[in-house]
Amino acid sequence: MGLTFAEKALARKAGLDAVVPGQILVVRPDRLLTHDNTAAISKHFYKIGVQKMANPDMSVIVLDHVVPASDEANATNHKVIREFVAAQGIRSFYDVGEGICHQVLPEKGHAWPGAVIVGSDSHTTTHGAFGAFAVGIGRTEAAAVMATGELWLRVPTSFKIVVKGHMPERVSAKDLILHIIGDLRADGADYRSVEFTGPAVAEMSVASRMVLCNMAAEMGAKNGVVEPDDKTREWLKGRVAHPYEEVHADPDAVYERVIEYDVTNLAPQVAKPHTVDNVVPVTEVAGTPINQALVGTCTDGRLEDLEAAAEILRGRHIAPNVRLLVLPASREVLLAALERGLISVLIEAGATLLNPGCGPCLGAHQGCMAPGEVTISTANRNFKGRMGSKEAFTYLASPATVAASALKGVITDPREV
């Protein structure tokens, strides 16, 4: 009997020929990703009673959540982290300005096919786009991984999502994944390994595949993954120097569910407040007034996302009374966007450029909302109160839909601008 991606990747890591769903394994992950929460994790770590990490080279730390620090409490946390990094001899530390952990980690060569990556952030699933088994864990666990280099994992059952057709104009991976989450619900893939496959996924860029895997977390998935191909290998060239062995699901693997979608007639999608699975075609909410629009985050802050926004806003100006915030996902993305002139297009159109980082996505700083305000965002979460006031409203959409909405001042179908 064949193995799914998750079964194969975990079996290999545990040194076994095969594993079955439900089996509990102890594995040594290849990378442990943590961010601003390393301050709290380091406290847990020292409480264990060990002084030195089992393997400091496993640790990747990116400051991204509240950067630069917005206040004394966050500044102190950052300071604690820098001291921890120095004390432990952690080499893969990326300070303020490098970008969002889920963009920086692959850019710096810490994700590769077959790698097992754990991170103290739910959107660690993003790295499945490189054929890695990548999962979010909590801080107790992250501290335990620092101390022991190991953690327990339950082998998940697997879903296979087969996507057919060609993506229509101005429709993107974000629209597809919102549609899927709306269909399967916020807990539809609870603790499942979700394999995204099919011709539409094969046609997608690596950046678009990252969108799918990133948001797999929003349907409760343990991990999301896309099979590596030439695009993956090309992307990783010059970033991952060491050899790696790709993991591909067996053709006769057993899935709990195989679900098919066809994108041929897919319309741009919008998740309405206050849950990610509250999804409708943009046409149903078109005309809703907005106060703020946001292009960025670990979901949609890459070059192709800024390009999609710039294409719509080139030579035009956003509506009066709308704030458009643009946050490139990393320094590398920002530099590439500058080189292509995308940043000037967006700023001339009225955008406010923020530094690479998580920005207002989690409501800590840089664009929180007042009561009654509405933001349309390319982020992955629209929970009540996430972006500031509990009485504010967040709609989730693609970069094209967000840019079109900023242009008109109301939620707008990007196919009509």
Binding site: N74, G149, D187, G220
Partner: protein, 179 residues
């Protein structure tokens, strides 16, 4: 050995219409504005303060109380504060129809007892604030007011072992691992 059968006063997390809340996310449990807090003892006061109708939960709750919710409790972020805030309050156990995947791991690793009770939603009307709830982690049985019995999922072996040890760290020490 720690008790594997515990009893406590129940809080049923319902909305304004009296329906059991589904999809209570980590921002409702522990809002992102408190993420800079690193001391677990400080987290209890903010538990559920972003869940409509339950903003004063931390003031009402007492150590040993039980909490009940619907589907997908703890959806969203991996933030462990959403588990630790209940530990800080001394909550006895959380019973829900289902839990978010990372939340479940965090709760297990922190030694906070959580019990999955499939089909809970259809019986939700039977449970009220102030009821006495007894939960047996070993058998998965949930007993309401000493009479009505519901069958939940018993603790898995690793969950029971970590719970008995206290948390993942203590469990690691018992195993004689590198910790």
């Amino acid at each position: 050995m720690k008790e594997t059968k515990i009893k406590g006063r129940l809080w049923v997390l319902t909305d304004a219409e009296g329906r059991l809340y589904d999809d209570i996310d980590t921002d409702m449990i522990f809002h992102n504005r408190y993420l800079h807090i690193t001391d677990v003892a400080q987290m209890g006061q903010y538990a559920l303060d972003n869940l409509k109708g339950w903003q004063d939960f931390a003031k009402k709750a007492q150590a040993g109380d039980m909490v009940m919710a619907g589907r997908n409790f703890g959806a969203g972020s991996s933030r462990q504060q959403a588990v630790d805030c209940f530990r800080a309050l001394g909550i006895g156990a959380i019973v829900a129809e289902s839990f978010g995947a990372i939340y479940k791991r965090n709760a297990i690793n922190s030694g906070l007892p959580i019990l999955t009770l499939p089909g809970l939603t259809e019986h939700a009307h039977l449970f009220h604030n102030g009821d006495e709830l007894e939960v047996d982690f070993a058998t998965g049985q949930v007993v309401l007011n000493g009479s009505q019995v519901f069958q939940g999922e018993p603790f898995s072996q690793v969950q029971m072992d970590i719970y008995q040890a206290g948390d993942l760290f203590a469990y690691g020490k018992l195993l004689g691992a590198a910790v």
